[in-house]
């Protein structure tokens, strides 16, 4: 019998995982172009485009003016006309400036033209609180989840940053790819061979029996820390990294919540009309009243650059642990 071939792994920083996906896909598909502020020789605000300008040149890795509205529009138009643009929006807060072309054009062009046009546009943006204040900290994924025609993904590890970007670059419609400021210091392993993370497929980060935590992006770290603390109290947490918010892997969430009987949704953004609200409703629809559900997210307040107020606003592991204790005591 032949032995299983050993899977060789590489270890990369989060930013390098993004760059790897782009490098491989840009070499494979010459229609891929990058548009954004400081993406060229500077290599991106998080160095996530480092090396691409040198390898693929100024025509395919284009620095743009500070003009998010028009850059998303240019990306959408170019996508509709045969390119595969990735538009980098440095802070998710500024994606608001580009919502008209993203929502009114990119997400609707296929539908409104009766299928004559496709808009394979990727908007890559960075969300999350990290000391930068009220207009540089927001997580707005939930707004986008309700737009028909739009896909929304949010990796939490370098392996998925790579795999989800690869998938995004092969989609036929618009995708918003949301990473997070606090994920960039991470390094992580992934197979040396090409690997794709499909959309709409969640992943178990931790197995457990008492409660399910459904979360994504940087909040996976908060959930893991909370689970460690609760393990010391004898509470066993199962953690699901959603990875893809639209489409949503409801089956995995229901499967887990059905087993544990308790579900906590955890997001860094607002909970009103949030990711958790949507998941909770859909789980309730599927599983009925048997599952106890609670949600944790930011306080209903802006996120200040003040370190005390920022920490008070966004969820931490203590708040998550408290919510789970409450959920299980209910």
């Amino acid at each position: 019998m032949s032995r299983e071939p050993q899977t060789r792994v590489v270890k990369l920083f989060f930013r390098e995982a993004i760059a790897r996906a782009l490098r491989e896909e840009m070499a494979r598909d010459e229609r891929i172009v990058i548009l954004g502020q400081d993406v060229g020789s500077f290599g991106g605000s998080y160095k996530e485009f480092l090396g691409l300008y040198k390898q693929f040149g100024a025509a395919r890795v284009r620095d743009t003016p500070v003009a998010e509205a028009s850059m998303v529009g240019v990306g959408a138009g170019a996508a509709a006309a045969g390119l595969r643009p990735i538009v980098s929006i440095t802070y998710m807060d500024f994606l608001m400036l580009g919502l008209d072309p993203l929502v009114n054009y990119a997400a609707k062009a296929r539908y409104k033209t009766g299928g004559q046009l496709r808009v394979p546009l990727i908007v890559k943006t960075t969300a999350g609180a990290k000391g930068q204040g009220v207009a540089h900290s927001q997580c707005l994924e939930a707004w986008l989840m309700s737009v028909p025609g739009l896909k929304v993904v949010a990796p939490s590890t370098p392996a998925d940053a790579y795999g989800l970007m690869k998938s995004a670059l092969r989609e036929s419609g618009p995708v918003v790819y949301v990473d997070h400021k606090r994920l960039f210091p991470m390094a992580g392993e992934m197979p040396e061979d090409e690997q794709i993370t499909p959309f709409g497929l969640a992943k178990y980060l931790r197995r457990g029996a008492d409660v399910t935590i459904a979360t994504y992006s940087h909040m996976t770290q908060v959930a893991l820390a909370a689970a460690e603390a609760l393990a010391a109290e004898g509470v066993s947490c199962e953690i699901i990294d959603l990875r893809s918010l639209a489409p949503l892997d409801l089956a995995t969430v229901c499967d887990s919540a059905g087993r544990t009987g308790a579900l906590l949704t955890l997001e860094e953004g607002q909970i009103v009309c949030g990711v958790g609200a949507e998941i909770a409703f859909r789980v309730r629809e599927k599983l009925g009243g048997a599952v106890r559900i609670d949600r944790v997210g930011a306080l209903a307040a802006p996120v200040s650059s003040n370190p005390v107020l920022e920490a008070a606003c966004v969820p931490d592991s203590a708040r998550v642990a408290r919510a789970i204790r409450g959920l299980l005591a209910a």
Binding site: A59, A67, A69, V74, A76, A81, L83, G114, G115, G173
Partner: protein, 308 residues
């Protein structure tokens, strides 16, 4: 260029819209009667491979671009035989394979899209260029200025054509826009601009031809302002705020009569030829109506197709 065909094209638009207006069941429509010369002059400067994007006021441009009147009407009425299967409807007609990349009914919303289409054509090594037609109402928003900036920087093959019909719904252009000439907006970006009489199809064609050639030869973007008169209100559902005297004055500048008079004076349009053209476009409009009316509405299940 057969100038009689330009006249016929303008007459077709006028007759098509008149028929649309006669039928109240056709509902809300954005008409461009009075502005035919802008669409026809511009389209006469384009080749088959070029792409045209427009604002929601798109009936004239779609017909001028050569789209089949029956299919255009079907689209306007939400029928399946429209190029967008009735899903785009008024304000969003598109047929990219025919060089009509499409209308987009967000004011100014198609400007950055057009720049993107131009970037794609440039990147893919195409010789085709992009024209984007928009109203004066789009000149006060940021999209135009951002588009001019990036198109100038990247030398995009983009001809920006402003159909300045002097009103944003009810607001006179002078109350909304500071520049003396809207084509002046292009100046600080180093983008060539020109203002022409938008009621004169030959003036529009001549200016558009120069700018299209500039774009095709790698010279980058341009801005053509065509000053026109809208003969009816903003839409079939909007009351006109202009006085009867104002409207009469506007209608005295008819682009069709201007061109017909010129051709007649040159001996190129005998009265019987004019009558033949009238008959011809009336037939075309009638055939379009029969075609569109015979087309079914989409099945309700179509609401969920081609979404993602």
């Amino acid at each position: 260029m057969d100038r009689v065909l330009l006249l016929r094209s303008m007459m077709l638009i006028r007759a098509f819209e008149a028929a649309l207006l006669r039928n109240p069941g056709h509902g809300f429509q954005l008409l461009s009667s009075g502005e035919e010369a802008v669409a026809v002059g511009l389209c006469a400067a384009l080749t088959a491979d070029d792409q045209l994007l427009t604002s929601g006021r798109s009936i004239g441009p779609a017909l001028a671009r050569g789209l089949d009147p029956g299919r255009v009407l079907a689209e306007l009425l939400g029928k399946s035989a429209g190029p967008c299967q009735g899903k785009g409807g008024r304000g969003h007609i598109a047929e990219p394979s025919a060089g009509f990349f499409g209308a987009h009914a967000v004011v100014g919303g198609n400007l950055t899209i057009a720049a993107g289409v131009a970037l794609a054509l440039q990147s893919l090594g195409s010789k085709a260029i992009v024209a984007c037609l928009f109203g004066d109402g789009a000149c006060g928003g940021g999209a135009l200025h951002e588009t001019l900036n990036i198109a100038a920087l990247w030398k995009l093959p983009l001809v920006l054509v402003c159909d300045n019909n002097r009103y944003s719904v009810s607001t006179p252009r002078a109350a909304a826009l500071a520049p003396e000439y809207l084509s002046d907006i292009a100046k600080p970006f180093g983008v060539p601009g020109q203002t022409v009489d938008g009621m004169d199809v030959m003036a529009v064609l001549e200016a558009a031809r120069g700018f299209v050639e500039l774009a095709r030869s790698g010279g980058g973007p341009s801005f053509l302002e065509c000053v026109s008169f809208r003969f009816s209100s903003h839409s079939t559902a909007t009351r006109d705020t202009r006085t009867p005297a104002e409207l009469d004055a506007a209608r005295s500048h008819c682009p069709i009569e201007l061109m017909a008079g010129r051709l007649a004076a040159e001996g190129l349009l005998a009265p019987d030829v004019r009558a033949e053209l009238e008959h011809d476009v009336a037939e075309a409009v009638s055939a379009a109506a029969s075609f569109a009316e015979a087309s079914p509405f989409p099945d309700p299940s179509e609401a969920l197709s081609d979404v993602a």
